[in-house]
Symmetry: C2
Subunit: 231 residues, 2 copies
């Protein structure tokens, strides 16, 4: 596991497991997103960005916009320097997301203001794919605002958590994609990892065949998303 | 340093330094505030709270409100269980704080909505001091809104960063205190730690006498705050 060996300082058990997971995913040809939700400024933000987007860090991380661009630009600059990506929390998937994010200022909810900030800060970093390094978290459970957020952030890749265990369906995610079927990453964590605990996989596989339950859940999710993203 | 010895798993160099600092402060009779600015939900928030407010953690930590009460309650419950405290980011000291926090919804800036959330979530946890475990970060650089935030959160201890290096003066902090001179903690980090690099301490002490420079800067800060908090 190269992640640990290249670090000169002692590593904790948790950090070691995290870096080993990233290294294993990278060796397997997979991209990794570190859901770190950091939001700090100045030298602290730079240190977080350096650690989390450094050689052993994830391919992208999530960050929190409450402190404004002071807390986003250090990550954007680090991502630009290292070829990594970001997902800025815009409209999250949890029930109380509405308390702050749905407040309406100047005729638009706060999440729309954050979306415009994402698009503006990402604009200098759009590559030939048409996407910028500044993506956005839009909970898959937030289907009512996904279409407007897709329009407000044409250059942002949308990370849509909440599929499965949090209740979102493939149909709920449809508006996160561009008409060409690109532009969104739909995430299922517990719905995949613990598939063997949940029907229909529980009856079909049970705990001893948890690997097969995971494979079946991934294939079902892929097929469901394919059906809606390119209708 | 008991902080490290009581943990059964390997600890990284950075975490070890952090825990050693907390343990040393505690042995010296000082309170510690971990400026961790975490903002996550569910089991992740509970794990952050357990780690940061556990036996070896700080006496209080800072947390981010963008995800709403889902991200605050796990920390509030943990703080209630362990006798610790929280400071929720309300109006931060950095220049771009205004981008999201100053947007006006229903006639009130977002930071005022967050302030009401702090007061509401803290209400069940007000002790005989008259203060709740849910405090608020109000940048000392934000003197124009400090008085209204002090009124909106009568039971919150205000943590006011930004004194010194970020430009705030004792007079700027005055409105964070209650009329009896209590209710606020004013923080200076770089202004104290690097006092020997800054006038008037640089000329008086220089790098070799950095300990005396720190002592002088602390005494000057204390005297300046005493003058304004009990006018």
């Amino acid at each position: 596991m190269t992640g640990v060996q290249t670090c000169a300082l002692p590593i904790s058990a948790g950090l070691s497991a995290y870096l080993d997971t990233i290294a294993f995913a990278r060796q397997s040809g997979l991209l990794t997103i570190g859901d770190i939700k950091r939001g700090d400024i100045g030298s602290t933000a730079e240190a977080y960005a350096q650690a989390h987007l450094g050689p052993n860090g994830a391919d992208a991380v999530t960050i929190n916009p409450y402190l404004g661009s002071d807390s986003l630009l250090p990550f954007i600059n680090a991502a630009a320097a290292t070829g990594r990506g970001l997902f800025i929390l815009v409209k999250t998937s949890n029930p109380s997301a509405s308390e702050i994010q749905d407040l309406v200022a100047d005729g638009q909810p706060i999440y729309a203001h954050v979306a415009r900030l994402v698009e503006r800060l990402g604009a200098p970093h759009v590559d030939s794919s048409g996407y910028s390094l500044a993506g956005a978290v839009v909970g898959a459970t937030q289907k009512d605002c996904a279409a407007s957020l897709r329009q407000l952030m044409p250059h942002a890749i949308i990370l849509a958590p909440g599929y499965g265990a949090q209740g979102a369906t493939a149909q709920d995610c449809a508006a996160c994609f561009h008409p060409n079927g690109l532009g969104a990453v739909v995430n299922s964590s517990r719905g995949i990892t613990f598939a063997w605990e949940t029907e229909p996989y529980k009856s079909r596989f049970g705990p001893s065949r948890w690997r097969e339950a995971i494979a079946a859940a991934v294939i079902d999710m892929k097929n469901s998303l394919e059906a809606v993203r390119c209708p």
